[in-house]
Symmetry: C2
Subunit: 346 residues, 2 copies
């Protein structure tokens, strides 16, 4: 009835996720003096005088971010909260509040929503977060969850993506690649099930990686650990899209070069044999897999002794003047890292 | 593959929107001392020490809240922001920030998203609001916009739904019912167009109500007006679902009875003849139509002189001890008001 006057039709896929976001938000103006940090980090920061409020929004879409043929609804609710809290922790802050928007088709009964909310409530309780609002609406098809997480960041603790300095160490929490391998197992068993619905899924022995995929935990504990150790990261990001993409974000925002040692990337032992079975390279899985929701950050080399030997933290590389990011392979070759990860969200 | 253990299947429609929200959020616990107001108002309030931060989330779903056969994308972007800012103004606050989540299928080119963002940027600029974050993701079908609005509310100005007092006056801004009649015109012209795509839509003469539907303005000016007049509303809500539903929200939250005079409800003159044409009752349209995004609030009767004669404000009734809400008709009958408005969001 009203046709668009613009005859151009550029497919979204042509720009990629980050290119698209850049394109759409390039005209963004800042009007308020209290906007301390806008688009382009894990969360925005609003200056409240004595402290910052961190704010971040993420959408989870059925068929894009989750597949209800193997994701239990309660886990989905829990994970939706984790994905969002992770962005607040990535600012070195404390998550305090969430709002939840759910769009749902009439394929779902009330009980399905109750299961999702069970997971949301459980996540809130465990992480000390209050559910303070939201919206529930019909959709034409499928399920979509939109969560906004809000938290508090002390002004002298805020860790932006942009603060990495020459000679800083690059550190990650936990281990990487598990969530992606959990997804591979679930996808494989789904195929088996589709071919023969009588077959029971073979999930035994994969508990760790399945939990990494289905029920990740945001690293609130790492923020508390760093506070206890009196370590203030110079930059920080959460690992949602894979190590490679996140390293490049830090490098670009900080205007520095990141160098990562392949043999330092922390990978759970169970993943090696599984990667062999799936004919995958473990390093590729860690670099491009995503959804681990670990934290990656940089610290001045002078802080090395404070984190040395901590079982939760692994030093994987260093920062130097320059741009881009390199992988230093096991045989000491230097390979330029490229971004991956259109699939997942910031 | 994983079946739900819960065999019950209650259709969502059985509970209705507000019943569903009550059901899902009844187990919500508050963990943080700074949560000043949680679920159940236009926005939540977080105590920042010197002031409150108001936070509200609303979803707009294609095929549920908007029909792209007659909603231009730029208007959609603009309206999405208005719907959310309106919730902050309904707390008697100043909207300062938004995050925008968009889920979009590959049916839409980049240029479509650019048009939506044009509307978002325009709204931000006009209302002094900063776009500080968000998420853009694929969807399996259709378009969904999720906006979270964040604002500042002075502690001594915050207007909750729950504060109405015995003898207060009930006041609305602007006029009511226009957005709904705009929708009727658009739906009618859509039918004409579907039957004969050669026909041009007959929209002339309906500019006011079409603008009310397609490009509503949130009443930031009313919040400023009240501040200038030194009037602090005892309770406030925005009119998104229709007057009837909103009056009942205030009555229930305040634990008071609301009495509305039919002949005081402000209705634009153009709506009378149009209602006749559509065989609709103007009062029904005002009570149940929705999407006007005007503000309704209560003030102590002692403040009457401050607002008397103001062309932006109309006194439509009064509050007294009791419960529920009544319409006092033109012929002085008293009719109990019932809720409507599952269609739209809070």
């Amino acid at each position: 009835m009203f046709e668009s006057k613009n005859p151009q039709r550029t497919p979204i896929s042509e720009l990629g996720e980050f290119g698209l976001i850049d394109q759409l938000t390039k005209n963004t103006k800042i009007n308020n003096a209290n906007t301390a940090l806008g688009i382009g980090d894990d969360a925005a920061l609003v200056d409240q005088g004595t402290h910052y409020t961190a704010i971040s929004t993420d959408l989870l879409v059925e068929g894009v971010h989750f597949d209800l043929s193997y994701v239990p609804l309660k886990h989905l609710g829990y994970k939706s909260v984790m994905v969002n809290l992770s962005d607040i922790y990535a600012m070195n802050g404390t998550a305090e509040h969430i709002t939840v928007g759910i769009a749902v088709s009439n394929r779902f009964p009330v009980e399905a929503l109750e299961e999702i909310y069970e997971g949301i409530h459980l996540a809130c309780e465990r992480y000390g977060v209050d559910l303070i609002g939201g919206d529930t609406t019909a959709s034409k098809s499928g399920l979509l969850i939109s969560i906004t997480a809000v938290g508090r960041v002390e002004k002298d603790a805020a860790a932006r993506r942009s603060g990495a300095q020459d000679n800083d160490l690059v550190v990650v929490s936990g281990d990487i690649g598990g969530a992606y391998m959990g997804l591979q197992i679930l996808e494989r068993e789904k195929q088996v099930y589709l071919e023969n619905p009588e077959m029971q899924p073979e999930l035994n022995g994969h508990e760790y990686i399945l939990e990494r995929q289905l029920k990740p935990e945001a690293r609130k504990d790492i923020v508390e650990l760093l506070k206890g150790l009196e370590v203030r990261p110079t930059s920080m990001i959460d690992i949602s899209d894979g190590l490679s993409s996140e390293v490049l974000h830090l490098a670009k925002s900080s205007n520095m070069q990141f160098n990562i040692y392949e043999n330092k990337i922390p990978i759970d032992p169970s993943i090696y044999s599984l990667c062999e079975e799936f004919n995958l390279n473990t390093t590729t899985v860690a670099l491009s897999g995503g959804e681990d929701y670990e934290l990656m950050f940089t610290i001045p080399i002078s802080e090395h002794d404070k984190i040395k030997g901590n079982p939760n933290l692994t030093i994987i590389g260093y920062v130097k003047e320059g741009s881009g990011a390199n992988l230093i392979t096991r045989d000491e070759k230097v390979i330029e890292l490229k971004a991956q990860g259109f699939k997942h969200h910031e």
